[in-house]
Structures are given as structure tokens and as C-alpha cells.
Symmetry: C2
Subunit: 274 residues, 2 copies
Amino acid sequence: MAASVEIICVGNELLIGKTLNTNAQWLARRITTFGLNVRRITSTADDVDEISKVMQETLQRKPQFVITTGGLGPTFDDKTLEGVAKGLKCKIKLSEEALKMVEKTYSRYVEEKLLDKVELTPPRVKMAKLPEGAKPLSNPIGTAPAVLMEYEDTTIIALPGVPSEMETIFEKSVIPILKKAAGESTFFETSINVYGVMESEIAPMIDQVMHDNPYVYIKSHPSREGEKKSRLELHLTTTAKDLKLARNRVGKALIEITELVQQKGGKTKLVKEG
Amino acid sequence: MAASVEIICVGNELLIGKTLNTNAQWLARRITTFGLNVRRITSTADDVDEISKVMQETLQRKPQFVITTGGLGPTFDDKTLEGVAKGLKCKIKLSEEALKMVEKTYSRYVEEKLLDKVELTPPRVKMAKLPEGAKPLSNPIGTAPAVLMEYEDTTIIALPGVPSEMETIFEKSVIPILKKAAGESTFFETSINVYGVMESEIAPMIDQVMHDNPYVYIKSHPSREGEKKSRLELHLTTTAKDLKLARNRVGKALIEITELVQQKGGKTKLVKEG
């Protein structure tokens, strides 16, 4: 059973549709690639009570990891850590380790002549106030540190919302943690395009192939124009203990579905190999 | 108080990061524009139990609307209606009205010579099986009808996942319903770019302006490169009973924040007007 992950994206900009949630897709993709299983993605408001509620509901489902994005910065609307602390019923405390990280960043800004001097104003100190027991993760390209916490059997990781900062911290500090949890698990995927067969015709073929190949998941994606257009993408995925086994499983299912499509007079074409 | 909406996006492709959730952004944007308030967006798996659980948890929060996307098609992995029915503890029943819609679409495909004859195979009939008491909404450009249901004080609307179908049905059948619920409510937004002031410097200014303008929400968005880059976007939004009031409120806050930025030696530039 692959380790389970939930993603929580904090930001009013997501709820008013100002921002496309590319962070969620990027994270989901990376996490899946490492053999973990993203179970749910929730976008919520910059609101302490909402964040707290989402966090509590998420923890009740006992995922191994909760990864949040957004809401770590210096402004009043950066409320993720306050919300998480409320959800976990713990206090917010100044972390000396985090404060050193923040101070170091502003010192660099002074060296780079972006600032005259390092002043640890309240909005800057705010970024070093973490839920009690939490550990800061350094942010090499931004100011607010990311945050690592444990709650019962769940590891909570709070990442910034700026995509470049989120991605950098994920690659540097989060991947090693996830890899350990994933163990030997590997994700493998492949896609074929099917021409000349409608989605409603292919439905029973997918049923049969998935029945014969219980570890392979097949999902059909009609082209954006719906069923009328005769191109249909079939996406085959599996998670296995090594890449060879994963490839073999998907390969067997691929051959079977291709044969069934051809029997119906359709054609297939491999899209890409993961 | 603006009518509340929750969005539920169903699809494994979202959880493995194969697909960017443009549907959620598109819906959030449209819904917000009509003066309603999107409270939460949840992405969940093609799994009856998961969909059922998400639906039950969502209904406990008593939003006025729940809008789902995805999972209405003919294949085995299209499980939204089954999941919703389980969550609502009601049965799935063949809807004669929905079946007529499905039949009409396939008749059109025959006319357009995409099919030889209309056969109502099980996967096609599946698209007409709705939770008991639900009403189908016709899908002018695809096959699976959308679905409208009432549960206590919540209206549930299930839309297809293919973006063009989702958008077409939303514009035609959903907007009239939302407009009625929104009443006189109007959303207004404006953005300014701020140059030469860091996010940590602008934080107390935003605090002050939001304190003076309680109906205006101001959010700062650092450029993708983080705080170092000196451009920062401030996004000002409000929801009011008419556009004039909304504009006046945002305008007043805009002047105030601009003055504060200039006092700090920064510059501002209007980005766009909503």
C-alpha cells in the first residue's frame, strides 16, 4: 500500500479563480512519481478558522503526509501557521533557528544592496513564528522558511506559495523524506491514443482489461471536444515495487487493450512512455 | 452575506498531476464574478467511497451550492453519480428524461455519419442513471447530461469534466440559478503593481488600509522570484450590492495604499480594472 499524501493549498486567490493552481499539479506529479499516493487536494481561504478546520478534517483521515502551500509570508493574510497551530491545538512560538534563517536572508539583501540595513520588523519576525515543536526548513531563494511538524503518525510540511520557492524547497528538503516513506514503490504510466472507437464503445473493453490486470488502472480521456471527436486517450498507470515489474504489468494491459480496439476496427498510437 | 459555493473536482488525473485543474479556476472565477463566495475546492479520486465521503463532509458545512466536475461519462471510472447517491443515501435510477437526451445525441451522431445506428448499450444507458429525484441538464456539445439535485438547503450540480462541455452547460443552465441566489451582489477587483517596496515593508500598510476599509480585501502577491524582485502585486477586491458602491470602496482603499507606498519611496501602477 503506497504511503498516502494530502495536499492543502491556502489562498483566497485560488477560491476567486485569480490564480490557476499549478502548485497542486506540480506537487501531485512529483509525489506520484516517487510512488506515493495523493488522496485529496483541498484549496481553502486565508482564514485561521478555515485552515484549522481543513487541517483537523485532514488529520482525521490519517494520511502519512500533509503538504500545505501558501500563507507563510510576512503579511497579515499569511495565516497558514496560525491555522495549523489552531488545528493542532498548539501554540505559536518564535523559533530561534527560523529567525536566524530570516535574518540571514535580509543580510544577503543588504549585501546585494536591495536594502540599507537589516531591521527585524514585526512582519519579518512573524515568518519565524512556528507552531510549537515545528522545525524550519531553509528557503534558499525566498524569505519565509518552510516548516516541518509531526502530529501522531502524520508528517506535516508547510511550503511557501511562490512556485519557485515551493519547488526548490520540495526538491531539496522534502524529497529525501518522501523517498524514505515510499520505500521500493515505483509509479509507471503510459498513454495511447485511440482512433475510430467511441468512449461508450471502449468502456466494456477497459472493464475487461482491468479485470484481467488488477494492478493496472486505465482511464479514458476524451478529447476536449467530447465523444464526437474520434480521438480518445487511454492512460495506463501502476505502482509496483520495481520499475521492471511495473513496466511488465502495463505492457501486458497495453497489448490486450490494443487488440480489443483493433477488433472493433479502431487504431491505437503510443503517446509517451513514463 | 454572499451565497456560499463549494467545488468538488472528481478525477484520478488531478491527484496524479496528469491534468492541471483549469476547471476549478474557471468555475471559481465565474462564480465569484456573480457575487457568490467559493469557500472550498476539493479534488478527489474516481472512487465511490471517496466521492461519497467528500460529499457528506461538504454537505455538513451547509453551502448553498455544491458544484462537481468530472465522472459523468460512460466508462467504469465515471463514478460521480454513484458516489453522490451513496453520500446522499439515495438510489440510482434510470431517468427517462436523461435517456431521451442521450438517445438524441447518438441520433445526431448517426445523422452526422459518426455512427451506423443508435444502440443504447449499457455504457450509454449508464449516463442516464441519476440519483433519485435528480433532474438532467442537457449537454449540447457532449453526451453525458449534467445533473441537478436538491439536498436539504443545498443545490448540487454535477457537471462533466471535459472543459468545453462543463463551460457550455454552466453558461446555459447554471448561471440563471446562481444569479437568482446571488441577488444584488456584485464582485469588483483591481490590481496595482508596487515597485521599490518589499512585501515585509508593505505588510503594515495593508493592515492599516484594511482596517480603514473593512469591506475591501487586499492581498499581496510577490513576483514568482520572491521578495527579492522589487515588483509586488496588490489585489483589491470587494463584494457589494451594486457596482458603484463596490468601485467606490475599492477606489478609496486604492488611493490610501498608493499614498502610503509613495511615502515609503515606492511607486505604483494600475494593472487592470475588473
